[in-house]
Symmetry: C2
């Protein structure tokens, strides 16, 4: 049914090798043969079967893209960037939606069955061991948004979450907040714990502070909202570091339900700087994470791994910065 190498060869009156060679870069074909083949291919509407050729070349150009953050709008941006960056380089994203799974075994098996050239684990919640499982199974892997480390076991691209926690704490202190709280993502998320750690490091030396913390069920609007509602039933802090913009936006929503003004009654600083945070109705003060660079860099790294599979694991950590908007009071 579909047209193959052989058909083109027959029509062009050349061998199959000749056809193959005109379609592979840098192979030795005369101009005459090439044009005969191209004409025949054109006529038949031939395009080479990438999977068949992967059998001999060992390259599929398929890249597994594994994630579990399908309820955080930031992830649409992430998806957009990743799929485009991969496409631009002639790579094809094969998606794995991890929603209810936390074990790598199934994903690893599946991606190996499809002979992906590499895998990208795009998640700030999964532990390094998750990405490591791909590495151990012989699948080159980059963990994007993964836990930063000075000597990582696999390639990691992202930010230093501990430092972001410190940064958020410093920002609250610089604005004179005395009852400060961390409202983090789920306890089993590495990013939630790292941000927590940084936050605590920074505040624990100040004896005049009242410090609290809690964790939402997941990185979602609903979870942030629910957690802040719960806090408001007791005695809330006056300045919060919410571990993520979508949590922040959920928290903001529960503030206004209770007639509280963000930035005035209660301060909130988020993390990510997603598109929505810029909306006038949200106007969230937050820590900017350079998503686009992180993703471009991740895909660069994937390409380099393909060239040199023995490449030594590397951590690429990008700096973040505070974006001042309307949900914290002014600096003192």
């Amino acid at each position: 049914m579909s047209v193959t190498l052989k058909d083109v060869a027959a029509l062009a009156g050349v061998s199959r090798s000749a056809v193959s060679r005109t379609f592979t870069e840098g192979a030795s074909v005369s101009a005459k043969t090439r044009s005969k083949v191209e004409k025949a291919a054109q006529e038949l509407g031939y395009s080479p079967n990438a999977l068949a050729s992967s059998l001999t070349t060992g390259r599929t150009k398929l890249i597994g893209l594994i994630s579990n953050n399908f309820h955080n709008p930031i992830f649409l941006e992430v998806f957009d960037q990743f799929t485009r960056a991969l496409q631009e380089r002639g790579l094809r994203p094969l998606i794995v939606n991890l929603t209810d799974e936390t074990e790598p075994a199934n994903s690893v098996r599946m991606l190996r069955q499809y002979s992906v050239d590499a895998a990208i684990v795009a998640s700030s919640t999964l532990p390094p061991s998750f990405a490591k499982a791909f590495h151990d199974a012989g699948v080159p892997v980059v963990h994007t948004f993964g836990r930063s480390a000075t000597s990582p076991e696999v390639h990691v691209v992202g930010i230093d979450n501990v430092e972001c926690g410190r940064m958020a704490a410093r920002e609250l202190l610089a604005r004179g907040y005395k009852r400060v709280g961390y409202l983090g993502g789920p306890k089993n998320a590495t990013s939630a714990m790292d941000r927590y750690r940084g936050f605590m490091e920074e505040v624990e030396n100040h004896s005049d502070l009242e410090v609290s913390h809690s964790f939402a069920d997941n990185y979602s609007f609903e979870a942030g909202r629910a957690e802040m509602l719960r806090l408001l039933k007791g005695t809330p802090a006056d300045g919060y570091f919410c571990g993520d913009d979508i949590l922040s936006i959920g928290a903001l929503s529960s503030l206004s339900d209770n007639g509280l003004k963000p930035g005035k009654d209660i301060g909130i600083i988020g993390l990510n700087d997603m598109e929505m945070s810029r909306w006038e109705s949200v106007n969230l003060t937050t820590i900017h994470q350079p998503i686009k660079q992180i993703i471009t860099s991740s895909v660069d790294l994937v390409e380099e791994m393909l060239k040199d599979p023995t490449r030594y694991p590397e951590a690429r950590i990008f700096p973040c910065r505070v974006i001042e908007r309307g949900t914290l009071r002014p600096r003192l």
Copy 2:
């Protein structure tokens, strides 16, 4: 490097056929052989190469998922549902991000190179001819969220956008709005035009109405916001049907910037009923589109196409209903 059929066969002391057969459902293998093979496979960590087998079976279980709506948060929900629904059936989503392209040629070629079993065009903006191009190239295709038709050229699953336009108009009329407007998506989107048509059909017989319409640049927050800002500079209508929730939310944002209260000063009804529309701070009255059923049904249809490729094109149109929240005044 990777372990193959041959290795397992050697270790188990059987032929390659025997190994192949133990891994294919319904093949004839004795219990004894099977267990020998399974033991050997276990020991070597073997799992069959899906791409190699696709060569002979003609099935890859890869499904192309093509879309262009990477700036509308609804699409994260769509993505989540699609990837899960496909996975549950053992199918693998191969993503095509169409962002700047409107011609199917490249996507078609690429998906044929990867021998996808079928393609899903998930877009309410692309014309039927786009999906048709896949069909014509021999790739079974379902157009999800596509233009409904009584005799479609390819499988279509979605809603009747014309009827939704009517429904929105009726809703505005039932609430006594007299200066009604349609604020649609981009003019080149089929859904924007269909909703426009339905809206107009319904209002044109009422001589006491003042009717206006305009189109945003795309389905995004920014576009909706910009368009409403522009409208507010002139004499806006008092009741709008915004062609999509994200447009509505953009429009709402520009209303509150101008000190206008949605539902009181200006009414807005959206379409989609995405998660965000339920947020208390948004509380958008909108037309609910049954995304989940649409997607499940699309994937069902994909499976049935795989079973019977000659299956006659079918349109599966799902009913929508108005969800009353806070952005329209009460019914008279």
